[in-house]
Amino acid sequence: MHDLVQYIQSYLDSNQTPGAAGNIFWAVVYVLLVFVGLSIAVIAMNWLERKILAHMQVRLGPMRVGPHGLLQPIADALKLLLKEDIIPEEADKVVFWIAPFIVVLAAFTVFVVVPFGPTHAITDMNIGILFMLGVSSLAVLGIVTAGWASNSHYPLIGALRSSAQMVSYEVAMGLAVVSAIMMTSLNESNTGTLSMIGIVQAQLAQREWFLFKFFPLGIVAFGIFAIAMVAETNRAPFDLPEAESELTAGFHTEYSGFRWSLFFLAEYSAMIAVSSIAVTLWLGGWLRPFPNALSGPTWDLAFSLIPGLTFLFLAGMCFYSTVRMPKHPLFRIQTMGLAGFGALLAAIGLVLFIPAVRVRVSDIFWFSAKVAGFMYLYIWYRGTFPRYRFDQLMKVGWKVLLPTGLALLIVTAIWGMRSAVWADVVVPMWLGFVDLLRRIF
């Protein structure tokens, strides 16, 4: 027993991720934490998307289930679980059954390497970013098989479009990622890294987010990635596979109930996953903003208070809405519920002020806040843009993003080793070229 406690405690002193430390207990705890957190994030995202989109579109969104529709996602989940699970007669049953699980597995597995903090990741892989890209590309298989197994025209067309789109944009995405990885090698030993934690630490060491590195190259790479990741997750304006006005619901037309909710879950966790990649590569991962301009212990303290203040602000909004609730006996339970929710948020906020918690949580908070920013962008896109046509989508992917990405890669490489390049590569190449011209003419 004592050994076990010691085994558990030993990890807390080590400065590693549970995977790297080889501590199975903490690895399991982290896995549970990440997946519970992810599920909560997806549920919250469901509510937020409806609410934010509704407010963008001058309507209220869910208002009935719980105060301000807060319990709507739970009601939805219950509805989906209780719905009849239909498998079409002519479908390929086994493949139809497997497909959603492939998608969900791919979407969840990538979170193994997402770094919420220098030690807050399930494990740190040497090939972290490669692992994320590789495993998330497996989701295509699930989509293709789902469309095919339904044995119906619209899902098949949806699946073909979807997979063609995802495969195409993966290329541009990869190029943007490589340019960020090249930036990690700007240190004394000239060694880059593919590790997710290593990438953020490189940004810390260089005292600059890669977004602003080699201005404007970092921003261009980030832009390519930001466009490609929307296409990769099949969201508006690249939501052709699900183009409601053309294909009803794309590859998951024939799915219902629990299986459909798996696709839903996978879509949202994939969105969070690609956003995590973008945050890690360009936005400094768990690092707090303005590390250079606003440095010093005072600012550190001020920034470490922000998580608690955020929760207090949310609690304040809850209390404000509580006051504004209609004063009618029928609304009593809703009012109390909202007040209770506000109290819960306030309690969390106060806990976050405790110094010991504050220090441990601020990394996770900043990472999540940046990812949340991307989630808001997703919703914003959906409220703003019309949908691309399929050929235009392919044109953007292959004829705009891919060449830009290639050019970017080369320019980044040249810029990254400026002095060496001039002496060893560019000048000899130019001389050789001139020499060649002289011989020809």
């Binding site: 579109q57 001058v58 183009a243 409220g383 019309p386 691309y388 235009q392």
Partner: protein, 383 residues
């Protein structure tokens, strides 16, 4: 006026080069499909995603309006016309009432005419707003739908206050109006005009310069002015193809000759031009409303028409510029209380004929855009 004869010749029958390709695929779209605006069924012949040709199957909403007319009196038939183009019920009513008035050789008093113009133009805006919302939704932009519905609501409120109905208004009577404008009608209309002007800018902000919107609409569903004339296509579709023709200007009815407004035209005849033309039309309608609401004269609202209407024997064709194009009524009277025959010339029905021509060589996703841009109402197509 642009002479349509100088435009490119009609080319309906030239088959596409790849017509005999073995990859031809026939796909059925509708009658239950979210983007066919009702119960339109389109049978598409595709080469991959390219449309080789299509056939419309209509009639799912046929109610025999023309047959019903022969078994009702002139007054009783009046509410039925609202059910054809239910998005622009007021325009339908205006056309019918004016046609019967012509047959009776009476004219609505000026005050009634002004109120008629205000309500009809409000209805034109409402119709265009509904078109814009659904059209943008088909192309994938969700938000304009809610914006337009929010603002259309204000128009429907005015209708409701005026005559108690929001959609199938039955606002006009043969010979004038049944209801005097309610207290504060002018103020409501003025408020609406100042309310909706910035809102139209809002729609345009979302779409007009949006790159994706431009890519989805420019060069899509092109139809030349010549083809429009040959196919009888009217309304904004005709004007977007460069033919400056609006019945309100060409053969003014009601008292449109008293108002100043411009007739917008496009050059390319593509989906984008039709969008722009309709946006300008909304603004021009506001201009007409502003002038009309300033100049409403005092006086009676009903001309002297007999309680039991027995128009003299004869026939009349009267058409107005409905939001969707030329809406005509051909009425034959045999001197009895019931019309001998009423023929409705519905703009949607005739415009829908152009779908085949406009979609050839386009992609499947464009068919949806073109159906949207034609602005059809199946209640009017099928009658």
């Amino acid at each position: 006026m642009t002479d349509p004869n100088t435009l490119s010749p009609l080319d309906l029958d030239t088959p596409d080069k790849t017509f005999l390709d073995s990859n031809e695929l026939v796909i059925n779209m509708g009658p239950q499909h979210p983007a066919t605006h009702g119960v339109l069924r389109v049978i598409l012949r595709l080469d991959g995603e390219k449309v080789l040709g299509l056939e419309c199957v209509i009639g799912y909403l046929h109610r025999g309006v023309e047959k019903i007319a022969e078994n009702r009196t002139y007054t009783m038939f009046n509410p039925y016309v609202d059910r054809m183009d239910y998005v622009a019920a007021v325009s339908n009513g205006l056309g019918y009432c004016e046609a019967v008035e012509k047959l009776l050789s009476v004219e609505a008093p000026p005050r009634a005419q002004y109120i008629r113009v205000i309500l009809t133009e409000l209805n034109r805006i409402a119709s265009h707003q509904l078109w814009l919302g659904t059209h943008a939704l088909d192309i994938g932009a969700i938000t304009p739908l809610f914006y337009t519905f929010r603002d259309r609501e204000e128009i429907l409120k005015i209708f409701e206050k005026y005559c108690g109905a929001r959609l199938t208004t039955h606002a006009f009577r043969i010979g004038g109006l049944q209801y005097e404008a309610y207290d504060g009608f002018e103020q409501d209309v003025k408020n609406f005009v100042s309310f909706v002007k910035p809102k139209i800018d809002e729609y345009e902000e979302l779409l007009t310069t949006n790159r994706i919107w431009l890519e989805r609409t420019k060069g899509v569903g092109v139809i030349s002015g010549k083809d429009c004339v040959a196919l009888g296509v009217t309304g904004p579709v005709l004007r977007a193809s460069g033919v400056k023709w609006d019945i309100r200007k060409a053969q003014p009815y009601a008292n449109y000759k008293n108002f100043e407004f411009d007739v917008p035209t496009g050059q390319n005849g593509d989906t984008y031009d039709r969008y722009i033309v309709r946006m300008i039309e909304m603004r021009q309608s506001l201009r007409i409303i502003e002038q009309a609401v300033e100049g409403i004269p005092e006086g009676p609202i009903m001309a002297k028409v007999p309680k039991v209407m027995k128009p003299p024997v004869g026939e009349i064709y009267h058409s107005i510029e409905a939001p969707k194009g030329e809406l005509g009524y051909f009425i034959v009277s045999d001197g009895s209380t019931q019309p001998y025959r009423i023929r409705v010339r519905p703009p949607s029905f005739v415009n829908l004929q152009a779908l085949d021509l406009m979609c050839r060589g386009q992609l499947v996703a464009d068919v949806i855009a073109v159906i949207g841009t034609l602005d059809i109402v199946l209640g009017e197509v099928d009658r």
